[in-house]
Homo-oligomer: 196 residues x 2
């Protein structure tokens, strides 16, 4: 397999930016389905696939979301075509008979084990969050991920039965490139990596 083209690498990584200002162009439900059909293939531990996606699009649902957001995240999220709640399923193991069919015992690796459930769900739904952001960019969408929200309030509003739990949020749509902030620095290879 060879490397993707420079323009594809630019779209995914080197030229992609976090967006805070959004054009009015909507994101269709077809595009959301196409996005999920990419995200789902990314690998997770024991194929547990714990991420859950809530695409908040309607005016009614946006109004429920608004008071859960930090002040600085409210206006832009009301304008974005969709704010996605990336959550995890605290009962992800109930799908193991479907997801890990070659081992009928897989469910028992997790059920009743609070620490394993939490660590697996947090790690792997975050990993799937990485797949989500890059899959959206691969489809030509822009992303604005956010951690600034009141999780207790948001979970009570959207997940009152406690089964799903918010991890982070991400606005998606078509960003207004004229309103990008200057790009922040990153760590050098030797600050963040070593080869031994």
């Amino acid at each position: 397999m060879s490397a993707l083209s420079e323009s594809a690498l630019a779209q995914l990584f080197t030229n992609a930016r976090t967006h805070n200002a959004w054009l009015e162009t909507p994101v269709s439900d077809d595009t959301l389905h196409r996005l999920y059909e990419l995200v789902k293939w990314g690998p997770t531990a024991a194929n547990t696939c714990p991420v859950r996606l809530v695409f908040v699009k309607s005016a009614e649902a946006k109004a429920r979301l608004k008071p859960c957001l930090s002040a600085g995240n409210q206006d832009k999220s009301m304008i974005a075509p969709a704010t996605v709640i990336l959550a995890w399923d605290n009962e992800f193991y109930e799908y193991m008979p479907k997801l890990f069919p070659h081992n009928p015992d897989a469910r028992s690796w997790y059920v009743g084990k609070e620490k394993s459930i939490y660590e697996n769900a947090f790690r792997n739904s975050s990993l799937q969050g990485g797949y989500f952001i890059l899959a959206a960019r691969a489809l030509g969408l822009d992303c604005g991920p956010m951690s600034g929200f009141n999780a207790t309030k948001l979970n009570a509003e959207f997940f009152p039965d406690g089964k799903w739990q918010a991890n982070f949020l991400c606005n998606i749509g078509y960003g207004n490139h004229a309103e990008l902030f200057p790009r922040s620095p990153r760590l050098d290879f030797d600050e963040a990596s070593k080869s031994i």
Copy 2:
């Protein structure tokens, strides 16, 4: 921005597989640098960039790694051109003056706050793990991510000062496509997502 080509989407998502058998083709240090130079651009909360990558390549380093791995992960990791320890930095906030230069107070959002440090480092280094896997695939590499290892033992061996901490591992190289397992199912859109 338009969607990437079907062949690029296949290389990243729809046709990409987790590999357990590896060709002898090595992965050069140039490729590892190129990989990091993609991964580093993925967004993280407040640009904290907490992931740290240890590329375990030499026979000596592989021998130190082997007893830390679950039995089923040992042989394949000894054969893979590199086993990458995806870790996080418990003192990631020390880089905030570099990474978040427009707010000189950013370091104080985390320092001394154990729960915020843990949650930010775990969430965002996992998110960067997603960028890592897709960046490797974008460069034509294959991946074999693994959670089966003794974290206490591995951290003691590779990170004795406790500053860095392992999150998960990933073999990289060029996989032997003839030895792939059958692909496991995924959840349908309606099982994992909703639009409201």
